[in-house]
Symmetry: C2
Subunit: 444 residues, 2 copies
């Protein structure tokens, strides 16, 4: 990783690095499909009107205009096109547009690039890949999906070449009910202040609660006491109750969070924590909220976040509630590469180079290669009948483990260029060791 | 396909359609990797200066500007960012930037979206996916790669759920040498006119050659005679020779094209044609040129094009010659879907729905699901213990072929909801028929 992106905020990978990214993407896809999620993609562009539909956003949006078009829509025209900054807004539009063609609850995964014109920094790019899963219903979405998504995402992250992670889970109903129960009615305002806890500390948050929301010392202390609760089991329930606040919504939130935590503790032990400080800032969640940190890499920020929303979208009098999570693939892959957490065993898919004894042997070499490929062995044929030493050097330089020789008598030999071992081989049946068939990803 | 894109030129697929696209993408990736091509991706944006580096282009480019940024770079600033309109220009930049980290000849495939602000029409979108393969050398690239790439692409297209195709191949050296040999020195001008043959006809092209390039009747007739040659074997050589033109470059081109055609006829019989009318317009090819049409869908235009260029890129006194082809994935998939050339067997990955007899059975149902998933069987668990009829209806509506029941005594049953057949099953060993394990793509 001596290289830096030639355009700040737009990372690109070398072939061997890309293999790590592909492994991450393939693993996520496989896990999501095993859990019954369907793949969709949405266009990269939305209208500005659609992107700003929910009001002010804190994302920096890239607008589009055709270079050869002299009368642009202009920045204030809601029909101007712009690049999407997440996959949730486009998914909401897709669901509304295609509601008549989808069967609900609709389970989808979506792995695509998104763009934000923010100042690039470690873990924050201008172009990056997100991998989202959501379940969305037409009408009512059973709460159990909140539990299920925590399990799916824990399974997906466990399958990646990563250090341990902690899935931090909270519930907005719990927090809002608690604030209401202690007499703070601007619950969104309290959430926004609590969201700053990690950045500015408890003292400053208490100050904000008092100065901006008119909280008393006691109210501020209680709100902070709630936010300080973190348990790796369901003991958070007793700790909240010990604060002596009663509220109907608080009870509903406690019950929901208890269900999520107890299932996750049973099925993904050690990877989940009830963290009552999680607020998820400006996002429009209405129940469960999720964040995820890599243990030992907490400063990287959340690598996977999401939550429950009562109305992902609406169409006439139909509403589509949903619950979903989004994995920051580029953030993860950047960290894996920069800290060499995992590496690919070679940079090319090729397992075998079929050499040429003379120029006329090229078509016969193609026949050998076709036989090997038919069994899934990635194979190249030398382009020229250079001296064997030069052909072997080509393979070595590219990291191709085996070279193939066809003898003048029509017999075949295959050589492992790492060990130098050379043995007779039949193109109709020879297989490399399983570990050499395709590049493998090893956790460092 | 009653649906139309909500934004003209930006197609989106339903989940079942997306499975056809995924099958196409997976098949291409697999074929390219079996031939030793490495995956890379480049960022979606380039600077305008980079995109226009080769001078005037005929593509409509989308420029980018941050909505919240009041002093834009502006359209005339070469540092302005814009979306790439193909994958060749970004690849050339990538090769130059990373030359020190790549081993040459570098074989890469690249499957990404590109954008062009053109008027949308059948087979032409504003956002579409291309799948490119190229081999690029540092210095000299043996001609044999031109032959190899024709074979790789024929194998890739054969593996797709498509009607028969014709790979039409020509050689710029052949054409330019011929024009020079008959005394037409503005060979680029002649190529541009010949490129219009299919659109405006031979008479109009002859007119252009005479009026714009000062050709005599005889020169125009000879140029058109060359362009009329199409053979499915190497007999084109004799037909060109019969025109009685001698030129060194012509001979080189004849020899090269003969090598490509004879290998392709042997290894991909019936799918290749030497077509001496292929010109590839404004593109900067210097030898072999390729185009591909689907038989019976010729009006769709070329679904796969490319060629050889002496200098894909240059860096100081190093040049990087290359040969490559680009498959128009979205054009192909749109045609497959609109003409129902292939369909997916179901719309969800899910093979099994594990039902719930009561709400307390959810964790046990997750255990069953985990056992099935461990063997690669995509499985969902019912979210609620509705009546079995309702749970089965959910599976049926989503096209899930099997439902799983756990009896009060702990034994298990699995039911094929298409046939109604229900049998005892062990979660540790049961497998669905291979055809039901995952959605399959069937050619209609």
């Amino acid at each position: 990783m001596a290289r830096t992106a030639s355009l700040s905020g737009f990372p690109e990978w070398l072939p061997q690095e890309r293999l790590v990214e592909l492994h991450v993407l393939d693993t996520l896809r496989r896990t999501f499909e095993l859990h019954g999620f369907s793949s969709i993609e949405t266009r990269a562009v939305e209208t500005v009107g659609q992107l700003l539909r929910k009001g002010e956003i804190d994302k920096e949006v890239y607008g589009l205009s055709r270079l050869q078009d002299d009368d642009d829509a202009g920045k204030d025209d809601p029909s101007q096109l712009a690049l999407h900054f997440d996959l949730t807004v486009p998914f909401a539009r897709y669901v509304v547009e295609n509601a008549g063609y989808l069967s609900f609850p609709f389970r989808r995964y979506q792995i695509q690039k998104v763009w934000r014109g923010e100042r690039p920094q470690e873990g924050r790019s201008r172009e990056f890949t997100q991998a989202d899963i959501d379940v969305v219903a037409d009408g009512v979405l059973p709460f159990r999906y909140d539990v299920e998504l925590a399990l799916v995402i824990a399974e997906a992250l466990t399958a990646l070449p990563l250090p341990a992670f902690k899935l931090r889970i909270n519930n907005r109903k719990l927090a809002e009910g608690f604030y209401r129960g202690i007499g703070l009615t601007d619950t969104a305002g309290v959430l926004r202040s609590i969201d700053k806890l990690e950045k500015i500390g408890a003292g400053a948050v208490a100050g904000l609660l008092k100065s901006e929301l008119g909280a008393t010392d006691e109210q501020a202390a209680k709100a902070l006491a709630l936010a300080s609760i973190r348990t790796e089991d369901v003991s958070f329930v007793a700790r909240v109750r010990a604060l002596g606040v009663t509220d109907e919504l608080l009870e509903e939130g406690l019950d929901e969070l208890e269900q999520v935590i107890s299932a996750a503790v049973a099925r993904a032990p050690g990877s989940v924590v009830a963290d009552l400080s999680i607020a998820r800032g400006l996002d429009y969640y209405t129940g469960t909220v999720y964040e995820t940190v890599l243990v030992g890499h907490e400063a990287l920020g959340s690598i996977c976040s999401g939550g429950r929303y009562d109305a992902l979208a609406a169409k006439g009098n139909r509403t589509f509630p949903g619950v979903g999570l989004s994995i920051g693939v580029t953030r993860l892959v950047s960290r894996i590469l920069s800290h060499e957490l995992a590496t690919a065993s070679r940079s090319v898919p090729t397992a075998v180079l079929v050499t040429l004894a003379d120029e006329d042997g090229w078509m016969a070499a193609q026949d050998v290669a076709a036989q090997l490929r038919a069994r899934g062995i990635a194979t190249e044929v030398a382009a020229k009948a250079d001296k064997f030493g030069k052909q072997i050097k080509y393979a070595d330089r590219r990291g191709i483990p085996f070279v193939w020789f066809t003898e003048p008598d029509g017999s075949h030999q295959v050589k492992d260029i790492r060990s130098g071992e050379q043995v007779p081989a039949d193109p109709a049946s020879w297989m490399p060791p399983a570990a050499d068939l395709a590049p493998t990803i090893t956790i460092s």
